[in-house]
Amino acid sequence: MKKLFSKEFLTRNETLVGVVIIAFCILASFADANFMSIPTLTDLMRGGIVLGIFAVAAMLVLVSGGIDVSFTAVAVFAMYTTTLFLINYAPDMPWYFAFAISIIIGAGLGAINGVFIAWFGLPTLIVTLGTLSIYRGFVLTFVGSKLISNLPPDMRGFSRLMMVRGTNADGSFYSLPWAFAALVGVVVLTWFILQRTMLGRAIFAIGGSVESARRIGINVRAVQFFIYIYVGALSGLAGIIHASMSRVANPFDLVGLELSVIAAVVLGGARLIGGHGTLTGTILGVSLIILVRNSLIVIGIPSTWQSVAIGALILLGTGLPAWQAKRAAARAA
C-alpha cells in the first residue's frame, strides 16, 4: 500500500526541503571542494542547537493551532536572570544547576502565557506579542541591561565539553559540543510526547478542532496550559545554552529571531491553521535555514542576500504545496 515514492511522499514539504538541501550541498561542493566535510557538518550541527530547540517548541504550538512569538523573550529573561543570580549569589554552582534554574524560570513565564490563553481564552498571537514585549522590557528595566561576559566558571566549562573533537585531513579542527545532546534529548522527548502519549495526541486533536476536542471530553485548558509551560521550559533551556556557548549573557540577544524560527518550522510543513507538523520537517527546515545562513557565500551569493534567500525559500517551500493542493481541489470540483 505504501510505495517508497508515493504521490503523497513526493508532494510533502519534508521531501521538498530535503531535495533543496541536497541540491544546495551539490552546488556548494562544486563551488568549494572542501564543502562536503566533517567541519561543515559540525558547524551546521552546532549552529542548529539553539535554533533547533526553539523550532521544536514553536512547532508544538503550531500543531496545537496557536502561535507563540514570545519564546525568544522568555529565553533571554530566563538566561539573563539565571546568570545574574549565579554570579551574585552562587558563582560556584555546577552548570546543571544553572540549567535547572533557567528551565524553571522559562516554565514559569510560559505558565503566564498559559493562564491568558487557556483560562481567559485570548488569541495566542495577541497574548504572546504582549508578553514578548513585557518580558523583554522587564528584563531591561528591572533586571539589567549590561552585557555579562564573566560567566560563572562552570557555565563556561560546559561549553568546552566536547562530544567529538578531531582534525580534518587538511589540518582544520572540528568539534561538536555536548550541548548538541540537549537538542537530541529535546527532540526525543517531544517525539515521545507527541507520538506516544494521549497528551500529545490531544495536542494534535485540539489543533484539528478545538470544539470537537471539547465535545469528546479532552481537557482543552489543561492541554493548552501544558503546551505553554513546556514551550517556556524549552525556551529557558535554549537561552542558557545560548549564553554558555557564546560565553556571554547579553540581554539584547535572541529577540528578533522568533520569525526565522517560525519560518523554519513552516518550511518543514507545519501549518499555521494547526493540526499539522512533524519533527522531521522541523529539523529539515532548521537545517536549511542554517545552511543558507552559514554557507550561502560558498555558492557565490553575497551574505547580504541571506534574508532574500530565506524569504524565497519560504514562498517556494510553503507556496508550492499550497498551490498544488489548490489545483487538486479545482480538478476535483
Partner: protein, 501 residues
C-alpha cells in the same frame, strides 16, 4: 418490518415532565420522552420547537429546569456530557465533530482511549478498535486515511463508528441525511437497521423526514416546546408530519406552466469540462424554473458552478439574452446578470459573524459609489428594503447572520442577489438544512421570482422540491444529461427511478 413490539423491549431512556426555561422563554414545557432498546425514534419539529434543547438535556450539555431523567433504569439528578457518555448516550452532531487532521483509526478510537483514562498512546490498539468497529458497521474505509480527505458520507460513518467504539447504547443523530445523496442515505439506513438489531437505539433529529421514517418505530413531534404528537411511524406521512410541525397545512402544489411565448433567456450549447460534464445543452426561458438533478458525482454541482464561471468549462458557449457570457469568470457572469446561491451557504455564501444588512449590502458596493466613497445611506436603505421584502425574521437588521435559522440565512443570501436585479438565478440546494415551514416559503419565493420574469435554475436531489418548483427537470448521470422531463408528466417514484437507474 414489525414496528410495534417495543413493549417486549426494555426502556432505555425515560424523560418525564421535562421543563426548560431560558431567561423569560419556555423552551420545553412538560415534555415526556422515552426510547426503548433497539428502537429508532424520529424527533421532529421546526426550528425553535425545542428539539435541540431536548437533545442537549439528554446529552448533558444543558440542565433541565425540572423533570426526571433515567437511563437504563438508573435515575440521574444531574447529567454532564461525561456522565451521559458513560451511560452510553452519544450525539453525532451535524458537523460530525471529527478531527480532520487525524487518521480514521484515531478518530474512531479517540474517545474510547479517553474514557479508559489511558496516558500512553498505543497505535496498534487504536487500529484494532477502529477495525473491529468498522467490521461491526459493515463498511470498509482506509484506517490510515486522513479524515479531511474523506467524502461527507464516510465522515458520517466515522462519526457513527466513534460512537459505537465507546459502547453507545443510544446514538443521537442531528440532521443525519442533509449532506447525503439518495444512495448514501439508503446505505446509512442499512447500517441503522444493523445497529438496531444489535440493540442500539437511535434518535433522528431531522428536517428531511420521508427517508428516516422508513427505519423508525416511533415519531415524536414538538412544536413551541410542547409535545404535540407521538405515535408509531407507520401512522405518519409527509403531509401529517408537516401539519403537526407547523400547525397548518403546507400545500406543495405544482408550479404554474411557463408561458410558451416567453423568449429564451439563457442558452447553453455543448458545454463540457473534462472529467466533470460533457455535451450539456439547454434553453432557459424567461420566467421558467429549470431543475437539474442527479446523484452526487453526476456533475450537477460542477455544471452549476460552470454556469456562474466558478469552474471553467473547456468547451461550449453560454448566451444570456443573446450576448455571449465569458466562461470561467464569475465577475463577468455576475455583471451579465447571473446570480449564484451556493449549496453550502455557511462556507461559500455568507459572512456569518457580520450583520444581516452588511451581508446583503456587500453585493451592491459598486452601485453605491460616489467618487470612490460609499453612499452608506442608499446602500443601507436598499439592503433593508430587500430584507423586508424577503421577510427575514429578525429583531434587528444589525444582528449577526449566524443568529438566524437556516431558512432565514438562505433568505439573506437571496436578498443579496435580488438587490442586484438578476436575470438568471442559479440556486444550488436552496433548502438544504432548512425546516419544512421555511422550505415551502422558499418555494413560494422561487415561484414569485419566476413569475416576475427571472429565469431560475434549481440544482437539487430533493425530489419533492424539484417537482414543486420546476417546470422541467434535466437528469444528469456521469456528466451527461440523460433525460429531460416536464415536471407535470412525472411522479416522485418515477423520477427517483430515472435518477438511480
Amino acid at each position: 418490518m414489525n414496528t410495534l413490539d417495543s413493549g417486549a423491549k426494555n426502556t432505555l431512556i425515560e424523560m418525564r415532565s421535562i421543563v426548560k426555561n431560558y431567561t423569560g422563554v419556555v423552551a420545553l414545557d412538560d415534555v415526556d420522552f422515552s426510547v426503548s432498546e433497539g428502537e429508532a425514534v424520529c424527533l421532529v419539529g421546526e426550528n425553535g420547537s425545542g428539539k435541540s434543547t431536548l437533545i442537549k438535556i439528554l446529552a448533558g450539555v444543558e440542565q433541565a429546569s425540572a423533570g426526571q431523567i433515567s437511563i437504563g433504569g438508573k435515575n440521574f439528578d444531574t447529567l454532564t456530557p461525561r456522565i451521559a457518555a458513560a451511560a452510553g448516550v452519544m450525539v453525532i452532531f451535524q458537523d460530525f465533530s471529527l478531527f480532520p487532521n487525524l487518521s480514521v483509526a484515531e478518530n474512531i478510537a479517540f474517545s474510547t482511549q479517553l474514557s479508559e483514562e489511558r496516558r500512553l498512546f498505543n497505535k496498534g490498539r487504536v487500529r484494532q478498535i477502529a477495525k473491529e468497529t468498522l467490521i461491526r458497521v459493515g463498511v470498509d474505509i482506509d484506517l490510515d486515511a486522513r479524515v479531511e480527505t474523506l467524502p461527507v458520507a464516510h465522515k458520517q460513518l466515522v462519526g457513527i463508528c466513534r460512537a459505537l467504539a465507546s459502547n453507545a447504547r443510544l446514538i443521537i443523530m442531528d440532521e443525519p441525511t442533509t449532506a447525503l445523496t439518495e444512495r448514501e442515505v439508503s446505505s446509512l439506513l442499512e447500517i441503522i437497521r444493523r445497529l438496531k438489531s444489535d440493540g442500539v437505539a437511535v434518535i433522528f433529529v431531522s428536517h428531511k423526514l420521508a427517508e428516516v421514517l422508513e427505519v423508525s418505530e416511533k415519531v415524536v413531534i414538538l412544536r413551541n416546546g410542547k409535545k404535540v404528537a407521538e405515535g408509531p411511524a407507520s401512522d405518519f406521512d409527509a403531509a401529517s408530519l408537516t401539519r403537526n410541525m407547523t400547525g397548518r397545512d403546507v400545500a406543495e402544489g405544482r408550479p404554474n406552466p411557463v408561458d410558451p411565448e416567453a423568449p429564451i433567456l439563457l442558452s447553453a450549447k455543448n458545454l463540457g469540462k473534462a472529467g466533470a460534464f460533457e455535451d450539456v445543452s439547454f434553453d432557459l426561458h424567461k420566467g421558467e424554473v429549470l431543475g437539474i438533478s442527479g446523484l452526487l458525482g453526476s456533475g450537477r454541482t460542477s455544471l452549476a458552478k460552470a454556469l456562474f464561471g466558478l469552474v471553467k468549462a473547456d468547451r461550449g458557449t453560454l448566451d444570456l439574452d443573446g450576448e455571449v457570457v465569458d466562461l470561467g469568470n464569475p465577475l463577468a457572469a455576475a455583471a451579465a446578470g447571473i446570480g449564484y446561491v451556493p449549496e453550502d451557504r455557511l462556507t461559500e455564501g455568507l459572512f456569518l459573524t457580520q450583520s444581516i444588512v452588511r451581508n446583503v449590502a456587500i453585493g451592491r458596493l459598486d452601485n453605491h459609489q460616489r467618487g470612490g466613497l460609499l453612499d452608506l445611506n442608499g446602500l443601507w436603505q436598499e439592503a433593508t428594503h430587500w430584507i423586508g421584502e424577503l421577510k427575514v425574521k429578525t429583531p434587528s437588521v444589525e444582528a449577526p447572520v449566524n443568529s438566524l435559522s437556516g431558512g432565514n440565512q438562505q433568505r439573506v443570501v437571496l436578498a443579496r442577489w435580488l438587490s442586484r436585479a438578476p436575470k438568471v438565478l442559479i440556486l444550488n440546494g436552496p433548502s438544504v438544512g432548512v425546516d419544512v415551514g421555511s422550505k415551502s416559503e422558499i418555494h413560494n419565493i422561487i415561484s414569485e421570482l419566476s413569475s416576475s420574469g427571472i429565469g431560475i435554475i434549481v440544482i437539487s436531489d430533493d425530489l419533492p422540491e424539484l417537482l414543486a418548483t420546476c417546470q422541467s427537470i434535466l437528469v444528469m448521470k456521469s456528466g451527461r444529461v440523460t433525460d429531460k422531463i416536464f415536471g407535470s408528466d412525472i411522479s416522485e417514484t418515477d423520477l427517483a427511478q430515472r435518477l438511480a437507474s
